[in-house]
Each structure stands twice: as structure tokens, then as C-alpha cells.
């Protein structure tokens, strides 16, 4: 979304395509049009992501007015210096957009939306804030919603509500959702496709089903095994040795090699390319075949 301020962050290279157009080649003005209207984003901390000094209704109405979802001030109809008339129109517009904001709050199942629209963010609970945030970002029916750890700051029972809400909203608005999370459980339940990232690289990408069943990258495999599960019997947990590297001086070659049991000298030298190992399943590992084999052999040992 190009929301990282420059400096310190800069996109060094690469392209981002949205509906066939490269976003990086767009002017700032066009990007502003796309943001909130076609691509919108919700964040991890609903407390800090909402402006504390404006009411919920105002903040939602702002997007609506901005992207002209409720019409706009008609410049032709009003004389240039007719300030009073202009104000009147603006007021009308505001009224309409607040009304629509209340509707969108109702859509995300906020009880008593009229009242909530007049409240400030700090007067709401965490779950309510995240709902309001979703309402705000879906107000203009975007085509893509980026959700950055939307439930991490919430309790499990509320998390479950929000996840269901997001799925429900997706069904209604037909938007694509890009969910960023560290919680594999949330991914397994909500996503169709998943990309696994390690130290700045996508190491594996594919359908949720195939990734969880046949992880081909050693990191994905380790990750799946280290999490304690409530469905499995207990015992010692598998561990990935070592620590996550920092990104200032990442390891050479494949960034996972210092923690990988399959690592060879090749891994130290060249970063592996992302290859399609089966339909819609990509892996970046020099030894994905070995990994696959070991999974299969283990699977077979258990099966018969």
C-alpha cells in the first residue's frame, strides 16, 4: 500500500500489480484514490489505529465523503462566493454520510449503531473497535482488504467473532482478503491460500490444504510441529533450534540454513528459487524433495 514512510523505508526494487496495473508507477494522487476505495487495510491494534479525538461516525463518514460514496458538493450549482450555500450542502453531505456510516456499523453487527457512531474510540471495547475499523474499511466496498494481524490483540472468544464477521463480510462484499498473522490456527480456519514467510522471504506458497498436509519447506514443517495442539496427545514438542535472525545482517544464501537440518554447503551460498513443486504449491528450498520424502516415509510408518 506504500504506507511505509520514505525515509526510512523504501521499496528498492520490484513491482506491485493490482488489477493489472503497477502500483509503484502510480502518482501519489492516484494512490490516494486507490487507498480506502479499492484496497483498504485493517491493523493489529484497534486502539491505536483509530484517531482518539474524533467520533467513530466522523471517521467512517470521512472515507465516504472522500471517495464520494454519498455524492459530492455540486460546484456548478453554487456560485463561487456563496459560502453559506456551500456550507449547507456540506452539512447535508455530512448528515447523509453519517447515516450511511451508521448503516455500515450495523452491518458489522454492532449493537446500537446510532449511539456508537457518536462515541469516541476509547469508549469502546477492543472487539467493538475492531468491528468499527472493519466497517470503516469496508464502507467503500474495496476489492482487496489487507488485514494485518486483525485478531492478535483480542481474546479467543472475541477473535472467533471477528473471524466469523470477516468471513461473512467477504461473502457479502466479494472482496479478496489478504490476512497477515502468526497464528497458524487462524490461517487454517480462514484462508484459501497461504504464503509462509521467513526472514523477509516467501519460503512456501500454496493452497492451505496442501501446505498443512504436505509442507515442503523445512521451516514450514518445523513451524507446524512446534505448536502445541489441543487435538494431539502430549509429549515433548519438536523444536526448531536457534533464534530468528535479524534482518540487518541476515545469513547468506538460504536465510534459514543455520537452523535447518537439511542444510548443505549449497544452502550457504545460493538463495534457493521459488519453484512450483505441484500445481499451486511453490517452495523455495534446495532440498525440498528430501523433505517431502521424509514426510512421506514418516507418514507411511504411522499408517500401516
Amino acid at each position: 500500500m506504500q504506507l511505509i514512510p520514505d525515509p526510512p523505508g523504501k521499496i528498492i526494487d520490484g513491482q506491485i500489480f493490482f488489477e493489472g496495473e503497477n502500483l509503484l508507477e502510480k502518482r501519489a494522487k492516484d494512490m490516494q484514490y486507490i487507498r480506502g476505495n479499492e484496497i483498504s487495510m485493517i491493523f493489529q491494534e484497534p486502539m491505536t489505529a483509530l484517531n482518539p479525538v474524533y467520533t467513530i461516525g466522523d471517521q467512517i463518514a470521512e472515507v465516504l465523503i472522500l471517495h464520494k460514496a454519498v455524492g459530492e458538493v455540486d460546484k456548478k450549482e453554487i456560485k463561487k462566493y456563496d459560502i453559506i450555500g456551500k456550507r449547507k450542502q456540506k452539512k447535508n453531505l455530512k448528515k447523509k454520510s453519517i447515516k450511511k456510516a451508521v448503516d455500515s456499523l450495523r452491518m458489522v453487527q454492532i449493537p446500537d449503531p446510532e449511539k456508537v457512531a457518536e462515541q469516541y474510540p476509547h469508549e469502546l471495547s477492543g472487539g467493538m473497535r475492531q468491528r468499527a475499523m472493519i466497517a470503516m474499511m469496508l464502507a467503500c466496498n474495496p476489492k482487496l482488504l489487507i488485514a494485518d494481524e486483525p485478531t492478535t490483540a483480542l481474546d479467543v472468544t472475541v477473535q472467533a467473532q471477528i473471524i466469523d464477521l470477516m468471513k461473512d463480510m467477504q461473502r457479502r462484499t466479494n472482496a479478496a482478503i489478504w490476512l497477515i498473522t502468526h497464528d497458524l490456527g487462524v490461517i487454517a480456519e480462514t484462508c484459501d491460500k497461504v504464503g509462509v514467510m521467513y526472514a523477509g522471504y516467501i519460503v512456501e506458497f500454496g493452497d492451505v490444504q496442501s501446505i498443512f498436509d504436505w509442507p515442503n519447506h523445512p521451516y514450514t514443517r518445523g513451524l507446524l510441529k512446534t505448536i502445541p495442539k489441543i487435538t494431539k496427545k502430549r509429549g515433548k514438542l519438536d523444536i526448531i533450534p536457534g533464534f530468528v535472525p535479524n534482518l540487518i545482517t541476515p545469513p547468506s544464501g538460504c536465510r534459514f540454513h543455520p537452523r535447518c537440518k537439511y542444510a548443505t554447503s549449497e544452502c550457504k551460498k545460493t538463495p534457493p528459487p521459488l519453484v512450483e513443486v505441484e500445481k499451486n504449491h511453490f517452495v523455495a528450498c534446495h532440498h525440498y524433495e528430501d523433505v517431502k520424502l521424509s514426510v512421506i516415509s514418516k507418514y507411511q510408518q504411522v499408517k500401516p
Binding site: 471495547s125 472468544t157 472467533a160 498443512f212 498436509d213 512446534t226 505448536i227 523444536i239
Partner: protein, 322 residues
């Protein structure tokens, strides 16, 4: 594990006063821990699970007398901790230790590791000089650190390593009982597994008793023998881990377990939906404090508070359904 009860609470309550008005009059209370009865047997791990703000952390601190309880008793090896004087309490302190959630703030940033881990030994006059150094090194090795870590400051360590240091400090005085307050929730999953394994090893080696506090039910399933579920300051269900995951009695426990996303796309969970959110601890609902969200609410739930009763052996529940 044997049946000897090492620690027991009796109607434990912890209310924090809220002051307001011109003369700072106490207007109300935050009922963080409200009438909690639990017991822990020697060598076992009791897990306390609940959502944020349910009072589970306060419970841990109140048990250790880091906060004086408002009412109720805590028995540790037969003596009532809430009654005994400061001096005696200080004598008992070595037996009761705690590992904190946030490895960043639980280590004094201006002390080297040797000082941090050695502090309990110095305060209690256990060791001095070269002996101290030897002891500290031994402790560090126990938790998987080495000699070269002794003279560094906390900020030079990663989260997992810091948590190991915190564990070493808790072990310094050979405690019998350790409260583990969300020891892994600030860590990455891959590191979380390392710490959990370490804790299990240590328990076996030193015969420790754990009170494991967490909001993460999959972690608690992995480590504890029995689990107590806490909701808004009260214990709603206590059962051996296996029983609890097989059969949940309290509607809240059922909802809580069903809400956990499972990291396996093949299992499609059937979810019990809860209305609303966790109530405030200042004005908890009347009767059973879960009734406004309960899918199985009955008329008497809003009037009479259910007691914690044993429904089958070792399985306690506080609900009018049983």
C-alpha cells in the same frame, strides 16, 4: 506425583479500590479475584486459563503475597501465608517463586546477569564471593546458558534467552512451588516450544510444582495435569486436563475451547458462539457472572450465584446445570 497438597486457597479475594471524588473516597472495587478456592498437589502442574482481564495474573500474585489479599487464606505447606508476619514470610519466600510474562521488563536493565541471578542468593545469605559465582554458573547451565553469558546485560539477549534467565533466577533458591505467569506468550512459536520443554525437564529433575497461568489453551493442554478455567474473577471449572478436553461442563469452557482456531484445515470446528464480551470486574453481572453471555441461561442464573461443586471425581464446575 502424590496426593500431598502443597498449596491451597480458601475463599481468596483481591479487590482493588477505585477512588474518586473530591476527597478520594473509595467508590467501588475491581473484583479481580473473587472467592477462589483451588488446591495444588505436590509435583503437579495446575493450569489457570482465562481471557485477558479475568484476574488470573492477580491470582498468581496474590497467592505469592506479592499483593496482600483482601480476604481469604492461602495455605502453603500447612501455614497460612496471609496471616504470618513479614519475617516468617521472608523465610518462606525461597520456597515460592515466580517467572514473569514479559522477559523485557522482568530483568533489571542496569544489572548484569550474574547479579540478577545471584540476587536471591545474596539477599537470603545463601552464597557469597566465589561460591556465588559457582552457584550462578550452575544455574545458568541448568537452563541452557553458558559462562560467557554471566557478565552481559539483559538487552544483549533475545526473548527466549531472557526467559531462561528469569527461570534461572526463580530456581536459585531451590523452590518447591513456581508460579509461571504466561512465560511463553511474549515469545515466537519456535522459541515457545524450547521453553516449554525446558520447564518440563526442570519439573522432572527438581520435583517442582507449577501453577501455570496462560490464555493459550493449546499450551496449557501441553503442560498441565489439571486445568482451572477462570472467568471474571471466579473459577468456573476445574478438571484433570484429559477430562476437560474430552468433556467440558461449563458453557463458558465449551465456548472457549471451541473458539480456538485449530491449525489443521481438515478439522472444521463447530463453534459455540458467545454474545458480547468479557464483563468489567467493577460491576460484574448478578448471580452467575456469565449469564448475560450464556447460551444456556436459566431464570435462576441471574439471581443465584452457582457454587463450585464436584460433578465427577476431580471434575469441579460452578454452574446451575449440574
Amino acid at each position: 506425583m502424590n496426593d500431598e497438597i502443597i498449596l491451597k486457597t480458601d475463599h481468596l479475594k483481591e479487590y482493588f479500590p477505585i477512588k474518586s471524588g473530591i476527597f478520594s473516597k473509595v467508590k467501588d472495587y475491581v473484583r479481580a479475584v473473587d472467592d477462589v478456592d483451588i488446591y495444588i498437589q505436590k509435583g503437579e502442574t495446575l493450569g489457570i486459563a482465562g481471557e485477558s482481564g479475568c484476574g488470573k495474573t492477580t491470582l498468581g500474585r496474590t497467592i505469592l503475597q506479592l499483593i496482600k489479599p483482601t480476604d481469604g487464606k492461602v495455605f502453603f505447606m500447612g501455614s497460612d501465608l496471609s496471616k504470618i508476619n513479614k519475617k516468617k514470610l521472608r523465610k518462606l519466600r525461597p520456597h515460592l517463586q515466580i517467572v514473569f510474562q514479559d522477559p523485557a521488563s522482568s530483568l533489571n536493565p542496569r544489572m548484569i546477569i550474574k547479579k540478577i541471578v545471584g540476587e536471591p542468593l545474596v539477599i537470603n545469605g545463601v552464597a557469597k564471593g566465589a561460591d556465588l559465582e559457582k552457584k550462578v554458573l550452575e544455574l545458568l547451565k541448568t537452563v541452557g546458558l553458558t559462562e560467557q553469558h554471566m557478565y552481559r546485560y539483559p538487552h544483549e539477549f533475545s526473548g527466549g534467552q531472557r526467559q531462561r534467565i528469569g527461570i534461572a533466577r526463580a530456581l536459585a533458591l531451590n523452590p518447591d512451588f513456581i508460579v509461571l505467569d504466561e512465560p511463553t506468550s511474549a515469545l515466537d512459536v519456535s522459541v515457545q516450544a524450547q521453553i516449554l520443554n525446558l520447564l518440563k525437564d526442570l519439573q522432572k529433575r527438581f520435583g517442582l510444582t507449577y501453577l501455570f497461568i496462560t490464555h493459550d489453551l493449546s499450551v496449557i493442554n501441553h503442560i498441565s495435569d489439571r486445568i482451572a478455567i477462570m472467568y471474571a474473577g471466579k473459577i468456573v471449572e476445574v478438571a484433570p486436563t484429559k477430562d476437560l478436553f474430552k468433556k467440558q461442563l461449563h458453557p463458558y469452557t465449551q465456548a472457549l475451547l471451541s473458539a480456538i482456531p485449530i491449525a489443521d484445515p481438515n478439522i472444521k470446528s463447530k463453534r459455540t458462539h458467545l454474545r458480547g464480551e468479557v464483563p468489567s470486574l467493577i460491576h460484574p453481572p448478578s448471580g452467575c457472572n456469565f449469564h448475560p453471555r450464556c447460551p444456556k441461561e436459566m431464570p435462576k442464573c441471574s439471581k443465584i450465584e452457582p457454587e463450585l461443586k464436584e460433578s465427577s471425581k476431580g471434575h469441579f464446575v460452578a454452574c446451575h446445570l449440574y
